[in-house]
């Protein structure tokens, strides 16, 4: 459905996305995991045709078999309306505070499909029920500020589903929500993807959320896709040093802070922080922070290696070991 081939996004001297290659099929649930500055949100914006004007794009992006290189804004608008939908982190900022949420959800149906008010109302009501909003008739008449954070996120999901998209991109949809609500929103996304046969692209830094939601993940760092594979495999046996560091740095809630003898259990942490775009090393982006770095890592870019079926990683060390 969506194919990215050697796709890059640059800004002057910096590179936000370097040679991204990705295929998304109907019904896939794909997680894009990375910290701030990893390029995960830039990737999502490119899939929606919303890359900033100042960005220099290269490589191939095709949707439904069509090359999107010269696509006009009008063509993108049709795609965004009918095929690909996106939900964002902050549900309050994404809803018009002066409109009743029911009207907001009905708008795309009326504009893009020319539905009558009655027909749109009927479909919106069904969507409100589908996304699990109680008393949907009353809720549709309310304004965003009258709803809780979780309800607002549900309204946004209903809005995203308004024109039956084949793919839903969710950018940090649970970050602003409380644990309990976040659990229920991820459950909802999985259920919707299953029932509708819709592809779900789940972008997050939250490893716990991605473990619950997706079948496959891509781990990103500094604009590179450093590792990918089945979610359970990658989380259980990470191959790239960055993925290993990220997983180790995330505390395990079942492990208490002290050992039995009262000594501290320190967290394994990665040194430093993600460098700014224009200061990333030219070779492996993780060079400089990597605990197992080789001499040529900072200058030579590692190739993406197919390590096993549906399992890839880009690291010089893996190549050395294979040799």
């Amino acid at each position: 459905m969506i194919e990215l081939d050697d796709f890059s996004v640059g800004f002057g001297a910096g590179t936000a996305l370097r040679g991204a290659t990705l295929t998304i099929r109907k019904g896939d649930r794909l997680g894009i995991v990375g910290e701030s500055g990893s390029g995960k949100t830039m990737l999502a914006l490119c899939l929606m045709g919303m890359a900033p004007d100042s960005a220099q794009l290269s490589g191939r992006l095709s949707i439904d078999g069509r090359d999107m290189a010269g696509a006009s804004e009008a063509q993108w608008q049709v795609l965004r309306a009918r095929r690909i939908a996106m939900i964002f982190q902050e549900p309050m900022a994404a809803l018009n505070p002066l409109r009743r949420v029911g009207d907001t959800v009905m708008e795309p149906m009326r504009v893009h499909e020319g539905l009558s008010r009655g027909a749109a109302h009927k479909r919106a009501l069904a969507l409100f029920e589908e996304v699990g909003i109680p008393e949907p008739v009353d809720r549709m008449r309310q304004f965003p500020h009258e709803l809780s954070g979780g309800q607002r996120q549900r309204v946004l999901i209903a809005l995203a589903l308004a024109c039956d998209p084949v793919m839903l991109i969710a950018d940090e949809p649970t970050t602003a929500l409380d644990a309990n609500v976040a659990l229920r929103i991820t459950e909802l996304l999985v259920r919707l993807a299953r029932e509708r046969g819709m592809a779900l692209v789940f972008i997050t830094h939250d490893l716990a959320a991605v473990a619950r939601t997706t079948q496959d993940i891509v781990v990103m760092y500094g604009g590179d896709m450093v590792e990918r594979g089945a979610t359970a495999d990658v989380l259980a046996a990470p191959m790239h040093p960055y993925t290993r560091g990220l997983l180790a740095a995330r505390p395990d809630p079942t492990v208490p802070a002290r050992n039995a003898d009262g000594t501290r259990r320190r967290l394994p942490s990665l040194p430093g922080s993600v460098p700014p775009l224009n200061a990333l090393p030219q070779g492996c982006r993780f060079a400089g922070r990597c605990p197992v770095e080789l001499a040529h890592c900072a200058t030579r870019r590692p190739a993406t290696r197919l390590v096993a079926d549906n399992r890839q990683a880009a690291c010089h060390l893996l190549e050395e070991q294979a040799r």
């Binding site: 910290e35 701030s36 409380d178 644990a179 309990n180 609500v181 976040a182 659990l183 830094h205 490893l207 716990a208 473990a211 619950r212 979610t231 359970a232 989380l235 560091g245 990220l246 997983l247 740095a249 995330r250 505390p251 395990d252 809630p253 079942t254 492990v255 208490p256 802070a257 002290r258 501290r264 259990r265 320190r266 967290l267 394994p268 942490s269 990665l270 040194p271 922080s273 993600v274």
Partner: protein, 261 residues
């Protein structure tokens, strides 16, 4: 066992909501209801709960920013809310706070050395401020020369180190950290948690650590208090709460924080 550093005895706090009708009394919101805990030197208590659970209100009462409607907050045996303003100002250097947002809590137009020394000026320490600022910077893993830089020159993790330096510059006995690592990336989060543990071991600090994320609470706390809707749900030694959660809600928090599916 050492004497308690801070003892919170059955505190409650209510807020009156805005009046919606002339004829009816305004509704009352219970932010915190009869909650008690104790923190000793060198110990960390974690308070975990979602937004609206009352954990930040508790922090503000411990910091004496706000008075409880009933109950007491004893700091080293003294009732904080019974002290005069002058006595309280003098005592403040003993308990300091680190906030969530390292971007919002530093004045962008001041060099960070100025911001770090601010609590010292507030308690009337004029001598040695430069030396103590340099000392605090070193303790949080920054360079004394960094005092001459502005906040925008630092990354998020470094800014949180600066916020911690400002909190420890008065040599407090208690540190209150309200969502202090929540805005940070995972890899940086681990660095800051390690820093807090090191400082605690070096300085014998008591820490009140507040977070919505049970995983980070588990990583640093000796005792855990779970709050929901202003009420204490359960509390106890970390291992007990994490391994034998008594409440369904604690189990949900555990599920939300765990990586294994």
């Amino acid at each position: 066992m050492s004497a308690p550093l801070i003892e919170v005895r059955s505190v409650s706090r209510h807020y009156r909501l805005p009046r919606v009708s002339l004829l009816r009394a305004p509704a009352v919101l219970t932010a915190v209801e009869s909650t008690s805990f104790t923190i000793r030197a060198g110990e960390t208590l974690g308070i975990v709960g979602e937004s609206g659970s009352g954990k930040s209100t508790l922090a503000r009462m411990v910091m004496a920013f706000e008075k409880p409607d009933s109950g007491q907050v004893l700091f080293q045996g003294q009732d904080l809310h019974a002290l005069s303003a002058t006595e309280l100002r003098k005592l403040r250097q003993k308990f300091q706070m680190v906030f969530q947002d390292p971007f919002g809590s530093l004045d962008p137009r001041r060099k960070i050395g100025w911001s770090i020394a601010e609590p010292l000026r507030a308690i009337g320490v004029d001598a040695n401020t430069a030396r103590r600022t340099a000392e605090a910077l070193e303790q949080v893993g920054l360079h004394p020369r960094d005092a001459e830089k502005y906040p925008h020159e630092f990354s998020g993790g470094q800014r949180q180190r600066i916020a911690i330096a400002r909190a420890i510059v008065t040599r407090p006995a208690l540190l209150v950290a309200d969502e202090a690592v929540s805005a940070l990336d995972v890899s940086v989060q681990a660095q800051i948690l390690n820093l807090l543990m090191d400082l605690q071991d070096q300085l014998g600090l008591g820490i009140l650590f507040i977070s919505h994320d049970l995983a980070v609470v588990a990583a640093i706390c000796d005792h855990i208090l779970v709050m929901q809707h202003g009420k204490p749900l359960e509390s106890g030694p970390a291992a007990q709460v994490l391994h034998r959660p008594a409440h369904l809600y604690t189990q949900t928090l555990l599920k939300a924080a765990g990586v294994s599916p």
